[in-house]
């Protein structure tokens, strides 16, 4: 399994790689949500500086007609850089991709929708080589998906997972309602002792889980079925923490060490979110069956 790091700032990229990152997922300015937004020049610089690191670019913003020309232009510019792949949410990316013979691959990254092997296979047959599994499915579902698809898969291991994205400026609106100016900072909201992080920017508002997910105790299972990439999202994690964390995760990926898993739990806790918790969706009994 390769260790993928999602940087939150450019300055720490060298440290991530030095500590064990095999790949990075970067954002592209104006086209990324919850990824470090960089210019094409910045990306080019990073790709050239770290030639042995796989670089993926996330274009996961909802795209509007007014952005299509710029999107196509950026996708063409990315083709001149040796990136490994582009993560996409909006189907406009796939349609543009089909018009050209790009050198890079595509990663299906519809955050909460990568939940079954049939849709993985559908996109694989459309030329999408990779998929980024949803964080809301169980380890058993992830393993079953891998057993039924040739798609190479990413799975989210550590970080504050994204829960929702709105076009609305929810913090600006809230502060307007209490006659204050929003200061532009991320905010913590809470309910029943559970915290959530609210982030607003020009594209709208994201809400992230306030707890750090830790899926590292499932790495051996993921490796067993051949899942290729495990992801650490660094947002909200300190540089000092990451300096300890990244080598430990790398070690688990190589050695399967349970002791290292315990060391990781000491650093970030053991919130396994949906890895071992299945969601429900019917709360009423079916009175009538077909």
């Amino acid at each position: 399994m390769k260790l993928v790091v999602v940087p939150s700032n450019k300055d720490d990229i060298g440290m991530y790689i030095e500590k064990g990152a095999d790949a990075l997922i970067l954002g592209l300015e104006k086209f990324s949500i919850n990824y470090l937004e960089l210019s094409i020049e910045d990306i080019k610089h990073i790709v050239n500086k770290y030639p042995n690191t796989e670089i993926f670019i996330s274009i996961n913003k909802t795209i509007f007609n007014s952005e299509l020309k710029e999107l196509e232009k950026k996708m063409l510019e990315l083709d001149n850089i040796s990136i490994k792949g582009v993560l996409f949410y909006d189907l406009s990316v796939l349609n543009i991709y089909h018009k050209y013979s790009f050198n890079y691959s595509l990663v299906w990254h519809q955050t909460h929708m990568v939940t079954n092997y049939n849709t993985c296979n559908y996109y694989f047959n459309k030329g999408v080589e990779y998929g980024f599994l949803s964080s809301e499915i169980t380890i058993d579902e992830m393993m079953e998906i891998k057993r039924h698809t040739k798609m190479q898969l990413f799975t989210f291991l550590i970080g504050h997972s994204i829960m929702s994205h709105s076009k609305r400026k929810l913090l600006t609106n809230y502060y307007t309602s209490i006659h204050k100016d929003y200061d532009g900072q991320d905010k913590i909201i809470w309910e029943n002792d559970k915290n959530y992080i609210v982030r607003e920017n020009e594209y709208g508002t994201c809400i992230l889980n306030g707890d750090v997910t830790n899926g590292t105790s499932f790495i051996n299972d993921l490796i067993k079925v051949g899942i290729e990439y495990g992801v650490i999202h660094t947002y909200g994690l300190s540089q000092a923490l990451l300096e300890q964390l990244i080598p430990l995760v790398k070690d688990v990926m190589i050695s399967g060490s349970k002791a290292r898993c315990e060391d990781i739990q000491k650093l970030i806790g053991n919130n396994t979110t949906f890895f071992d918790k299945k969601t429900i969706f019917k709360v009423k009994k079916d009175e009538k069956k077909d």
Binding site: T62, S92, T119, E136, I280, V283, K288, D290
Partner: protein, 394 residues
């Protein structure tokens, strides 16, 4: 000549389906017992889907079935047989979000239309072109688009476009919200949404609760523009709404649409229909993104703000033309002396003061106080089954 725009209504069960079609919907969308994003609505059995299709087709109208969950592995087994069964019931279209389902339907049942669900949050022409190539017949646009953006999309694609015009709004992009999963363990993308966006949260250093709930959508003012733009279908939200709500909302939009096509839509008519719509609203409404970037004014800030509506007084179950006696089932309290009106599926309205009323045995009574009680009133008119009695709209 361009086809008349479709008025598309939700229906949570067979009774509501019949009522909404009688009140003027051109087509109805329903959910089956599985694979639909309203997992906790009553929903339709296969026998009911068949009856729904037979009823709708007898009126030359259509039925669409939502199959728009985001599938998990465990949902796959069984769905193919289910699709085949539903096609056998006579369904006109499936509303789908997962592309492997689109491909399966178009490969195996090309005669049945596929509509891309708003769960896909489709906001641009390039994405629509992708789905056009996949055989999709219609795209339900995301609710985050302005009129200008909708027009721009229509101008750049060869695709039937469906637009939401009325009902509850999601705070977040459809499909891009898993709050319900994290806070209540209920999977929003498989129909379990617990509406966490209507919860109130504490927030850093502030006394006032942080909320993110939106007002409901009401695009009645923009119907003429949407018609002129070339939109194919106008969609009302609400498969869990009551039959009174559906009859009223669909009845209002039917009148607005027909009046516009007949070149008799006046400001007076608009204002009246808006007033009627406001009577069934349990939240404030807004047009959201249609004519502005949704902002502070389009949300609530003090937790749930919903009012219970008690204007619906009774549902007509029969009419004795000879004696001019209407029979109805009581829904909310009313009494002799009340100013009321009967509105009918064909759009007629009979306003009157209740001078006399009777129980089921024609004993004169003063007050109707028990829901489901049989009440009889003297009314002279063409009172159809499924007409409804409400407080007079003033």
């Amino acid at each position: 000549m361009k086809k008349k725009i479709e008025l598309l209504s939700p229906a949570g069960d067979l009774e509501r389906l019949k009522i909404t079609l009688l009140y003027g919907a051109d087509a109805v969308y329903i959910g089956g017992r599985d694979y639909s994003l309203r997992a906790n609505a009553t929903n339709f059995s296969l026998a009911e889907i068949k009856e729904a299709c037979t009823f709708a087709h007898s009126l030359d109208k259509k039925v669409y079935l939502t199959l728009n969950i985001v599938f998990h592995n465990e949902d796959i087994e069984g769905v193919y047989k289910y699709i085949e069964d539903v096609v056998g019931c006579g369904i006109d279209a499936f509303i789908v979000s997962d592309p492997f389902i689109i491909q399966y339907i178009k490969t195996n049942f090309p005669q049945v239309e596929v509509h891309l669900s708003t769960q896909g949050s489709t906001t641009n022409a390039e994405a629509i072109k992708y789905f056009k190539n996949e055989g999709v017949d219609r795209v339900v646009l995301a609710r985050e688009l302005s009129l200008r953006e909708i027009q721009n999309i229509i101008d750049n694609v060869d695709m039937d476009i469906e637009v939401f015009i009325h009902g509850a709004m999601c705070t977040f992009y459809s499909g891009r919200c898993a709050l319900s999963n994290y806070l209540t363990n209920r999977d929003s993308n498989r129909g379990g949404c617990s509406q966490v966006c209507r919860f109130a949260f504490n927030i850093d250093e502030e006394k006032e609760k942080f909320t993110m709930a939106t007002k409901d959508l009401n695009a009645s003012r923009y119907i003429p523009i949407l018609i002129d733009m070339g939109v194919s279908s106008l969609k009302v939200e609400g498969r869990m709404r009551s039959l009174y709500y559906l009859a009223t909302v669909i009845g209002c939009y039917r009148k607005i649409i027909d009046a516009y096509y007949d070149k008799r839509l006046t400001e007076e008519e608009f204002s009246y229909q808006e007033k009627v719509l406001s009577k069934v609203a349990n939240r404030e409404t807004s047009c959201h993104y249609l004519d502005h970037e949704a902002d502070y004014n389009d949300q609530y800030y003090t937790g749930r703000q919903e009012v219970s509506n008690q204007d619906f007084l009774g549902l007509v179950t029969g009419y004795d033309k000879k004696n001019k006696i209407v029979t109805l089932l009581e829904r909310n309290y009313f009494q002799v002396g009340d100013e009321v009106e009967l509105f009918t599926p064909n759009g007629d309205i009979y306003s009157f003061t209740i001078n006399k009323m009777y129980d089921n045995d024609m004993n004169e009574i003063e007050v109707a106080r028990h829901p489901e009680e049989v009440i009889k009133l003297e009314v002279d008119g063409n009172i159809l089954e499924y007409s409804m009695l409400r407080k007079k709209v003033v």
